[in-house]
Symmetry: C2
């Protein structure tokens, strides 16, 4: 064998990565421990050696998924930059982020829906608190008449809707618009190209 007693052994990571894929694709109840073991190419007992139980493994995956939704970008929202520039930066970076973690939003939403209690505090601390300054900034700019005349919460909801929903709705969009995978990628490329302007336009009062 090779390096043991590291902080994260190679097998431990392989297991986690496999678990992440399976849980994100099928949800807690849809996932099978055997499938995770197979995908990680290890024996099932290794799962329990490292992660005690399905629940424990799931919670780690769940936590990481939430954290992935709000990396450096959260801090970006709290920088002391003008709103328009902030919106543009956020749009581009968040779209790229979701694009490379496109299974996460639906996964998190589905699990939150089944069990809103679990991870509630975690969510509140990791996301809820971090966006408060941004909401505050929206309120101030609204007072100055620089934004559309809507509560900050509504502006946020609209921005997040435009950014995230197409990924969550991907299977439906692909079917009803008859897009293969490559065409869906182009569909997202197109969004990347116009959404920064578009989101500024639907949030700020510029003409």
């Amino acid at each position: 064998m090779k390096g043991k007693r590291e902080e994260q052994s190679s097998t431990e990571l392989k297991i986690f990565e496999a678990a992440r894929e399976v849980f994100q694709a099928k949800g807690l109840e849809g996932a099978r421990m055997q499938e995770i073991a197979d995908k990680a190419k290890i024996n099932k007992s290794m799962l329990h050696y490292y992660y005690r139980s399905k629940e424990k493994l799931f919670e780690k995956v769940y936590q990481l998924s939430i954290i992935r939704l709000i990396p450096q970008i959260a801090s970006l929202l709290n920088e002391d930059t003008p709103l328009e520039m902030k919106l543009r930066n956020f749009t581009v970076k968040y779209l790229e982020l979701i694009r490379h973690n496109s299974d996460i939003p639906l996964f998190v939403l589905h699990e939150m829906n089944k069990n809103p209690g679990r991870m509630k505090n975690f969510m509140l601390n990791e996301i809820g608190k971090k966006i408060q300054p941004f909401l505050q900034q929206l309120r101030e700019e609204r007072k100055k008449g620089n934004t559309v005349d809507l509560p900050a919460e509504q502006m946020l909801a609209n921005i997040m809707s435009l950014l995230v929903f197409p990924f969550i709705g991907r299977p439906v969009f692909q079917v009803i618009l008859n897009l293969d995978d490559s065409e869906f990628e182009q569909f997202i490329d197109k969004r990347l190209s116009y959404l920064p302007d578009y989101i500024v336009r639907v949030t700020l009062n510029k003409t």
Copy 2:
């Protein structure tokens, strides 16, 4: 007992309704036949008497869920009315529809994601085909310069995002914006009040 040999016996409906609730809340794998039976206040074997298997019962619920997403409203999209009025009508009616079937979008999306093949044709026929005339109308109005300069598919994606996402994201919004159930209802009320104008504004070219 009472009326038998009706098209839909009372117990059959009770079972279906219970199944609908449980499947929509927990998904195919998360649902327990016993829980459905309990909720319908009947014995488990009644489930199989009427619906053979979990799969069969699920498929019926799944189908109905998809159909509920596109009732009379689909036809509304194909009426021969001016685009602006159509957008306003659709926004109001679709928001009301989703509001009264708020579990359906996340349910359908989650199941579509786990198994995109199942129901693909059904989805295509029930939704895909029915929105084509609307897409066509968007394209024509775009040519005339009456809309934002985006492909019809993008306009549709944006409209649907704004309408549907807040319901799908409800558990997250409630946590991070700290809204109780009543406040979330107000949040939706607010959307109902401004979204018709807003969607017209972000879709059409009216200053």
